[in-house]
Each structure stands twice: as C-alpha cells, then as structure tokens.
Amino acid sequence: MDVAFSFAGETLVPLASGALFWPAEATLLVADLHLEKASHFARKGWLLPPHATAETLAALIDAVEGSGARRLICLGDSFHDQGGPDRLLPEARSALMLMTRNLDWWWITGNHDEDAAAALGGRVLSEARLGPFVLRHEADGGDARPELSGHFHPKLVIRQRGRHIARRCFALSPAKLILPAFGAFTGGLDVADPALKAALAGPAEALVLEGGRLLRFPVA
C-alpha cells in the first residue's frame, strides 16, 4: 500500500474516509463520529439533513469491511451529546450493536459524549494503550509518548492559483498523530491554527489522500 506511512516504528494506513488502519494490530481507528448531531440540533429547532448518522455508519461499515479490521477504536466524541444513543433510530442502533458484538470495540470518551455509548456494547475507556501508542481523545502536549488522538477535526487549507481548497487531513508531528473527524457535517479546524499547532507540540505535516496518493504538506 503506497499510501502507508511510518509513525513510532509502526506502519499505518490512512483511508480516504478519514479512518486510520493499523495492519499489524488489525485495528481501525476513527475519531469524532458525532453521531446524532442532527437530532441534537433538531430538538433546538435547527434542522440539519437527518441522514448524517446513517451516512456515518455506512462509511464506518465500509471501512471495517474494506480493511478487514477485527478491532475498532473510536477516539472520542462518538456521539454529539450524552443523550445521543437514546435517539438512534432502531436500524442504526441494531447496526451499531451488531458491530460492537462482532468486533473488539473500544469507545474512548470525549468531551461531548462521556460514557454515553456504554449501553451499545464495547468497552468504554477514558484513555488506552496499544503497542507503542497512547490513545486519547484530545492530544496532551505534556506527554512525550507517541500518541493517537482526535478532537480537533484538522483540515488542510491551501491557496493555489488563487483558489482556496480545504480537505480533512491527518496532522502528524514527531510524537503525535491527530485524526480528522470521521462524522458527516462536522466542520474542521485549519491545521495551521495555533490551537492545533500547540497540541502537535513540534514541527508537523498535514497528510492528505488525493488521487490515490498520500500528499504531505509541511504546516507553516
């Protein structure tokens, strides 16, 4: 796989959907699904397209089946709010419960969802370790160990021939890899934003999949 890259001695494969596959562990990592965001806003009277959850789950199933992963780790903010799991439509709920049963499923808690997902199966952890990595929702600048996290929804913003282009990206520094948001309608933060640069704690690159290749952009 020519889009693979190496981080902390491990070979990792970024997917166009925003997921990260770790072949040695048969593990798929995703961040910031923000399931039931639409229904959260609907209750306040703001109606977003109601199919976001279904789209996100469909993409997730594709990623699992395409990669052959046996473990799935959600890096936090899997639901947009603590009440999200209760609002899942029956089909979405059963699809999720089927996946948590068939896979080794880890829910890392985020700032939006805490332990909300516990009822759907899988393990709920506030932080975890796997191989050389610390797994948590939000990068910890004070921790020098290699780390995989989400939270920031990084995106690359460039200007080329007068045109602004924005793409979800993986943000990679010597000790940290921040995943893009996997969910639909989740927006993003410019990878050059000071908050993201601080979290990356060192010189960083934005990794973007385009045209079947992995493009690397130094973060200025």
Binding site: K44, G45, W46, L47, P50, I158, Q160, R161, G162, R163, I165, R167, V208, E210, G211, R213, L215, R216, F217, P218
Partner: protein, 786 residues
C-alpha cells in the same frame, strides 16, 4: 367610463399614475346607485394591497357624503374582525373593497352564492400588478366564479400605462375574448424628466447599487421636498440606508421601507411620510404600488432600473399631478448599468414598454381553487371544467389535464392515496363532488392564498416573547430568511431596519437582538432581483453599436467602449460575443448573452459542467444581466461545442433535478396545492419544520410518482422564473448560428464589470484535485536538497 358602463361592456382603463383612475372606475357605480337604489352587494373592488383598499374607502366616502348618497362602503381583508365578516355575509354593503385572497375565501363560503348573485360590477385595481403571477391566476379563477354567479356582471380593469393593452383585455375578458372588452386610454400627462447621475463624468467599473454616490444622492435629497430612493433588493436597502446616514451631515429625517420589516414598522414609516415628517425614504418594490403617501417630488433609482415599465412606474411615484413632470434620477452602478439606464430612458421617451409574458395558469393554484369551490357548494366535474376554462389563464386547459388536477385534489395522487389526510373530494351518487369532511373547509380557508413567504425567523428586539405582556416584552422588528439566520451565532451582528443588531439568543422561530456595533453581516433575501428585460437588452446592444450616441456619454463610458472596440470587439445587435483570455494562471471565457441574470446563471452551470467533462478543469463562474464569465485551469480553444443547444435536452433536466431550484419550487407548490399546511400564527411550529415536511414528500414523490401533478407544477416554476429557460434557449440558438470568438491577449474592458460582480459560483471537483497535487509537487520541488 360612464359611456362604456352604460353600454354594459367590460372595460380596461389605462392611465398614468396620478390620473385619478381609481375614482374614475367607481364613477359608474356611484351614478348607478344614485339613480337606482340597490339592495345588497353592487360593486366589488379588488386591490393588490390591503392598505390600498383602506385608502380607497377613505377616498370614496368623501364624494359619497358630498353627493348626499346613502351607500355603504366596507373593506374585507385579512385584518377585518370575524364578527364584521359574518355580518357582511348576512347583510352585505353595496360596495365591498377586498383583496384576491379575501375574495377567494369569501367564494368558498356557501353564503357567497346568494351574496354574489346581484353583483353588477367588479373593479380590479392595478391589474398589471397581478397579471402573470399566481395571484393573477387565482383572481382570474375568482372572476370566472363571480361571472357564473352573476352573469350580467361587468368587469372593469384599472391599470398603469402598459405595453400591451390588448393582451390585458384578453386576460380580463370572460373566455379570454378580448373583443368583449373596451379599452379606454386616459390622456398621458407631461413627459417625465429622467436624468442619469454621472459625477464628474465618472462611472465605476464594478458594483450594482450606486453606493459610491451616497454623498451626491444626499445632496439631491437636501434639495428636494421628499425623495423616494428606490433600490432593487432588500439587502441593498439596508446598505444604502446606512451609506446615506453616513453622509447625512444635516441629520435630515430619512426612513427605510421594505417587505421584510414588520407591518407595524412599515405603517409607521408610511404615516411619517404622509405627514411630511420625512425628507427621504429608502424603499424596495414594497413602495412600487398604489398609495399616495406624501408630496414626493423626486425619485432616485439606485442601480439600473431593469425595465422601462418599472422605471416609468417608479418615476410616477414622484408628483401625482398630471400637469407637472415627474422627476427621476438614475444612479448607475457600473458602466453597463449606465448603458441600461440610458436605454430605459430612451424606451420611456419612445413609449416602448416591456410586454408582459402571459403564460398558462399554475396547476397548483387550480388545485387549490377547485377545493374552495366545492366547499361553497357541491358541483359536477363537467360544470367545474367549463367554469375554469372561462378564466383566461386556463382557457387552454385540456379535459385530460383538468381531470389530473381533480384527481390530485380528490386523492393526493396515487403515491399518496394511502394517506387519508390527502383525500379531500368525494363524488356522490348524483355525480356531484363534495368535501370529504366539513372540517376540510376550515382547513382550506386557513391555508388558501398563493403568496408563499420564504421560510423566515422573527427578529425580536429585547428578550420577551413578542406580543405577550410581561416584564420584558420583545418587539418584533421584522423577519430574516432562515438561510441567513442559520449563519448567525450569538454575538454576531447584522444590519436590519437600518440598524446594526447583535444576536443575544435564539428561541424557536425568534432571534433576539439588541443594538450592536462592529462589522455587521447583511441579510440575503431570496428573489427580489428582477432580470433586465429583453427589450432593454436589445436597446443596450443598440447603444453599443451606435457610435454617434457615444459622444454624449460620460468620459468613462465612452473610453470604455472605445477601448473595447480596439482590443476586442463590441457585441453586435444579435450575435453572441465570446472572449477568451488568460489572466494570472487561469483561463477566462466571457460570454455576452444579454439574456438576464437567471439565464446566465443556468448557462454557467451547464457550460462548466460540459467543461468539466471535456477535462478543462473549470473553477467557477459569475453571472450578471449582461454576461457570464467562467474560469478554468485549461483554456477553451473552441467555445462552439459548449453552446450546442442539445445541452437543454441532455443536461438541463439532470442538473435541474439535482439543483435546489426544484426543491424550492416544490415547497411553494406544495403549500399552494394544499399538500403541506402553512404555519399558523400562534402555533409553535417553526418554518423549518414546514420546509422539512415538504422536502420529505418531495423525496417520496420523486421516487414513487415522478409525474405527480405538483412535481409537474414545480418543474414549470423552476424552468420559468428561477432559471429562465426560454431566454436561455434563445441565447443558445443565437450562439449556435452567430457566435463570434475573440482571443484576447489580456482581460478585456467589457469583462471587468462582470469579474467585479459578487456572487461567484464555485464548481469543479476535478480542479481541486489537480491543484492539490500541483501544490504538493511545488513544495516537494522547493524542498529538494540535491
């Protein structure tokens, strides 16, 4: 008028604003009632505006009192209290002043059969304001019903100066037979005086609204008694109002008036204007019609007028006297607009007005109307068909099409047959159609009407609920569209009602605000923008090709045209000029179609789609009334294939189906056609919920019944006003036979106003990909150390 009335003929009276035509319309009625007392309703007067009905009542009562007549004159509008409405049904006045909406509701009542039987005359004021709209369809159907109830009824239409009186006579006549209508033309007044502002011979390259001229406009206001400053959209009204206040050193009282302001706010401004407390008012089309609100002596048109009829009508708002010239000053936004302003002035001087595009009536309106008629009394489909066909917009309606409408009104159409709520009409054993339940009549009255406002949120000053007494009572300032409201967050500020407002919170359909500072956003309002008319476009082309006229133009405009003739060429009378040039690292293609903004917008979508397929990597385009300009990473070598007229068959339907236009059009027809209920005042269902339920039904029908009546109606609407397919088809035909391609070494003078236009559309997923790859390769090269 008396003469025509005595002969019992239908009549169309055209007269310039200020000629007193409304009173003239009533003269035969007053004369008749003075000699032959009439018990019951004698004359119906129908106005496009509630306020106009009230105003006419006031103006009628004086002559009636002076003549010592005992004639009862009453209004009936949405504002009339229920008890008076009930009394009017039992004991009608001799003259009833109403609107098409209130008339339709009245005609759905069983009492209307007796009430209308003795009606002698119906007067339709400002008939040109109804014309080719769905309100006009509804009104025409109501006239057909009235004529059936009162066969001897005489129809009288009152209109401003119009291009095609014969066409209108046909619209007014029963069975669309214009020979039954006598056309009465009032004498024209003094020719208006129309000037075009060019400060020091300067006209800017870009812009639309003449905002650069705020200081000069302010001077004009200071030199007149009362000026109306007309702008073309509500958003621009807010901007211009602010610009004027920034130059208002003398603190002259200036007000603002547009359709999104709360009615109370509008009434207040109108009253101040009538009382002479204002020196100027910034207004949109909301002030185009009707009332005499004060002693206006100057009309200022910011930006191009877009049509000769519109210019003449707006100019007529100044000085409602026949013996003095109305004065109008046009402030062109850019050099094209200068030509357009000049063209409009020429057209007014030549008496060449814009024709009205009569079109077949909307099927959604018809569906609504037939349910209303059945509510009044059971009726046989054959009789209903005959009655409907006597309304001009439906004169060409086949029995087959009529049966489809009836089937929809009865069952909702086969995809929706399973739902009881869409079943409204049932045939009895006698063959007559009846309402399925009595409750449907009330539901119909709550939802009837053809005006569908964009989904909007209330702007409420303060934190309380509007209209609800309490410690902190909020005051409703008006409405902004949901689309704009969706971009606002607490702490954001936006311009509204001439003030900068800061959002303090959201509550259901309310946005709470307080006075704010900082750089505000400006609300966008759908629609409101009229395209330049075809006739005006032809005149603009004419001016470009008539060098003798250039000498009298401001230096800026003349030099612009001369330069264009030198570096490229000028568009001819009936060709399509296409220019291609490179600027920075993009390739541009400018197409001068003069087909109006909607047609150019559609052209932009279709052409860039073809470019994408041809691998030209298009990035975006921008449309104006005059031209469409698009840009791409690869050059267009031969533009001809891009304009192949087959594009209309091949790609248009596909694109339109996926575009938001059709969905938006469906929301409207779903409400008019009675599929989705309107939001009722006091009911806490936000406008969003309404658009979502319409969207859901849209998706269901698209999948399960693509030929559903309301989808057909939505297609018709989307093809008409939103995308202007007719003009686009003409443009493509023109490009096919007479396309002139100029390769220019650099950007051309004519392309500049378009390139400075706001509202660029972005296209091209392929280009994004190419640019990302390119950017990465550049960086990789730059960082190479070998």
């Amino acid at each position: 008028m008396l003469d025509v009335a005595a002969r019992g003929r239908h009549a169309l009276l055209t007269a310039p604003t200020g000629a007193g035509k409304t009173l003239a319309g009533f003269l035969p009625t007053l004369a008749d009632l003075a000699t032959r007392p009439h018990d019951g309703l004698h004359t119906l007067y129908i106005s496009p505006l509630k306020a106009l009905a009230v105003d006419v009542q006031r103006n009628l009562l004086t002559p009636i009192a002076e003549m010592g007549l005992e004639i009862m004159v009453e209004t009936r509008t949405g504002d009339t209290p229920a008890d008076r409405k009930a009394r009017q049904k039992a004991r009608p006045p001799q003259i009833l002043l109403t609107t098409p909406e209130s008339l339709a509701n009245l005609l759905s009542a069983p009492e209307s059969l007796a009430m209308m039987a003795g009606v002698r005359r119906v007067i339709i004021d400002e008939i040109h304001a109804f014309g080719t709209t769905k309100r006009g369809d509804q009104l025409s159907l109501c006239l057909a019903r009235l004529q059936k109830l009162a066969p001897a009824m005489q129809r009288v239409g009152l209109s401003a100066t119009i291009a095609d009186p014969e066409g209108w006579a046909g619209w007014l006549a029963p069975d669309a037979d214009a020979t039954h209508v006598e056309i009465v033309r009032a004498e024209a007044g003094v020719d208006p005086q129309i000037d075009i502002l060019a400060i020091d011979d300067r006209i800017p390259w870009g812009g639309h609204n003449g905002r650069y001229a705020a200081r000069a406009v302010m001077q004009q206001i200071a030199n007149s008694r009362l000026a109306i400053v007309f702008v073309n959209t509500r958003a621009v009204a807010e901007l211009v109002f602010r610009d004027l206040w920034a130059e208002n050193d003398q603190a002259l009282p200036i007000g603002i008036h547009h359709g999104s302001l709360a009615p109370e706010a509008r009434r207040k401004v109108e009253a101040a204007m009538a009382a002479g407390r204002l020196r100027a008012i910034v207004a949109t089309a909301s002030l185009d019609l009707g009332l005499d609100w004060g002693d206006v002596d100057l009309v200022i048109q910011m930006g191009a007028p877009k049509g000769a009829s519109r210019l003449l009508q707006r100019t007529g708002r100044a000085n409602h006297r026949m013996d003095e010239a109305s004065r109008c000053l046009i402030v062109p936004g850019n050099r094209f607009e200068y030509l357009e302003a000049l063209a409009a002035r020429d057209a007014v001087a030549a008496g060449e007005l814009d024709p009205d595009g009569f079109r077949p009536g909307g099927l959604d309106v018809l569906a609504q109307h037939v349910v209303g008629l059945v509510a009044a009394a059971p009726i046989h489909p054959d009789a209903l068909h005959a009655e409907v066909k006597s309304a001009a917009p439906y004169a060409g309606l086949t029995r087959e099409a009529f049966d489809l409408v009836l089937d929809y009104a009865a069952t909702g159409g086969y995809a929706l047959k399973a739902y009881e709520r869409y079943q409204r009409l049932v045939p009895g054993r006698d063959g007559l159609l009846r309402l399925r339940t009595a409750a449907l009549a009330r539901q119909w009255r709550m939802n009837s009407g053809t005006i569908v406002e964009a989904v909007a949120m209330n702007v409420v000053f303060g934190t309380g609920k509007p209209g609800r007494p309490g410690l902190s009572r909020g005051r409703k300032l008006g409405q902004v569209e949901e689309y704009f409201a969706g971009q606002l967050r607490v702490g954001d500020s936006f311009m509204f009602a001439g003030q900068t407002l800061e959002v303090t919170g959201f509550d259901g359909a309310d946005i709470h605000v307080r006075l704010g500072r900082g750089s505000p956003k400006v609300p966008v309002y759908a629609g409101g923008r009229m395209p330049m008319t075809t006739r005006l476009a032809a005149r603009v082309r004419g001016l470009m090709n008539d060098r003798a006229r250039w000498a009298a133009m401001p230096d800026d405009v003349r030099e612009w045209l001369e330069l264009q003739a030198r570096v490229s060429r000028l568009p001819g009378h009936d060709d399509v000029l296409v220019e291609t040039f490179r600027r920075d690292d993009r390739w541009y293609m400018a197409v001068y179609g003069f087909a109006g903004h909607p047609a150019h917008q559609t052209l932009g979508m279709l052409v860039t789609q073809r470019m994408e397929r041809a691998g030209l990597l298009p990035l975006g385009f921008v449309a104006s009334d005059y031209a469409m300009v698009c840009w791409s990473l690869e050059p267009v070598d031969d533009p001809r294939p891009l304009f192949d007229p087959t594009v209309l068959e091949d790609e248009l339907a596909e694109w339109l189906a996926a575009s938001p236009f059709l969905r938006r059009a469906f929301r409207e027809v779903a409400i008019i056609g009675g599929l989705v209920e309107r939001v009722q005042p006091g009911v806490q269902k936000s406008g969003k919920a309404m658009s979502v339920s319409a969207d859901l039904i849209y998706d269901v029908l698209r999948r399960h019944q693509p030929d559903h009546l309301l989808l057909t109606a939505a297609w018709t609407d989307a093809r008409g006003k939103l995308t202007d397919i007719a003009r686009l088809a003409d443009l493509l035909e023109q490009a096919h036979s007479r396309l002139t391609h100029v390769r220019s070494a650099h950007v051309t003078p004519l392309a500049v106003p378009s390139l400075l236009t706001i509202g660029r559309e972005r296209v091209g997923a392929e280009a994004d990909s190419a640019l990302l790859l390119e950017a990465e390769a550049l960086i990789a090269d730059a960082m190479r150390v070998d």
